[in-house]
Amino acid sequence: MIDPRTSVIKKRFSKVKRVIAVTGWKGGIGKSVTASMLSLILAQKGKACGLLDLDFTGASDCIILGAKDIFPEEKNGIVPPEINGIKFMSIYFFSDGKAVPLRGNNITDAIIEMLAITQWGKLDYLIIDMPPGINDTALDVVRLIDRTEILALTIPSIIAKDVLERSLELYKRLKVPIVGIIKNNLVHSKGMGLEGIPYDDKLETALGCPDKLLKTKFAISLEKIISGLLK
């Protein structure tokens, strides 16, 4: 038996210049907000940008972008709908607001299916919102998309720092390039040598409104950071 789907994944990414996986190794540290905001900023700068939410159990980019009433179009596969100039794909479109309880093999199969049938077309950047940790999704993305680069997110915590160091070591071993490490939720101006985003108490009220999101302190800080990282 041959699974034919993996053979076309390379073709689906043939016109995608860069693939940036926004990842972090703890839950709730701002990966989805960072991935969504990064996509909004790049689209605003005129870049052709896609956003793929692979955090199946906690898919939330739809909520962040206010993209609940859109659905992919069927055309030689599925074409991601656009929101604020971003081509956006998420399992949320198919789950009808319900939980998606998937085990390891199911996660791999769902990722392969999405990568095989999604027609991204020409993109300068595809941003992938990853679930926390180095798990099935992380290993599958690295295995299936050969150009994946990592943008790592962490928070000011000894626990997060320790996990970050172990995970970075593993990515180095897997020969996956690290674009940068961003420290989120800084309450002090010093970020232990890392690029930092200060805590933004207005962020919550901007969720669901891309125009408001782009005006937050979070967006302004992230824009400064990525202009240095994504050259």
Binding site: I78, D96, E113, A116
Partner: protein
């Protein structure tokens, strides 16, 4: 249509196989359609017909045989084995499962213990069973 992407994957995969096995010509591709994904055979075959016109010549005269594979599930909680006929789903839910068969875990549950924690043990989606050709 979503079937086009799957047809594209079958052709690409068969051509890759031919290169690997040094086949000069593919004569037959045996495909299994899993009941769960419910792929439209007519659209799929039409897509194949159109796509091979612009594909590698190694596959241009190949025949494509499709056989159906019944979907079977096994509950991880109570070990009950069940079929798709034993579970209920709406038309919309079936459409979502058609796009991504793993959505079965969102919409289907074990008929005995109602758990969504089951294995899809057969009939998930599109698979190539065998490829025949001349060296």
């Amino acid at each position: 249509m979503h079937e086009w992407a799957l047809a594209d994957s079958v052709i690409t995969s068969a051509v890759d196989y031919a290169k690997k096995e040094k086949l000069k010509k593919i004569s037959l591709v045996n495909i299994a359609f899993g009941e769960l994904q419910n792929v439209d055979k007519e659209i799929f075959l039409f897509a194949i017909e159109e796509l091979i016109k612009t594909s590698n010549k190694v596959i241009s005269s190949s025949k494509f045989k499709i056989s159906d594979e019944l979907a079977k599930f096994k509950c991880k909680v109570c070990s009950t084995e069940f079929t798709i006929k034993q579970v209920k789903k709406t038309e919309e839910e079936a459409e979502y499962i058609h796009f991504i068969p793993e959505m079965a875990h969102t919409y289907l549950k074990c008929p005995k213990c109602k758990s969504p924690d089951f294995d899809i043990i057969a009939g998930r989606g599109v698979l190539i069973k065998s490829i025949k050709g001349d060296k």
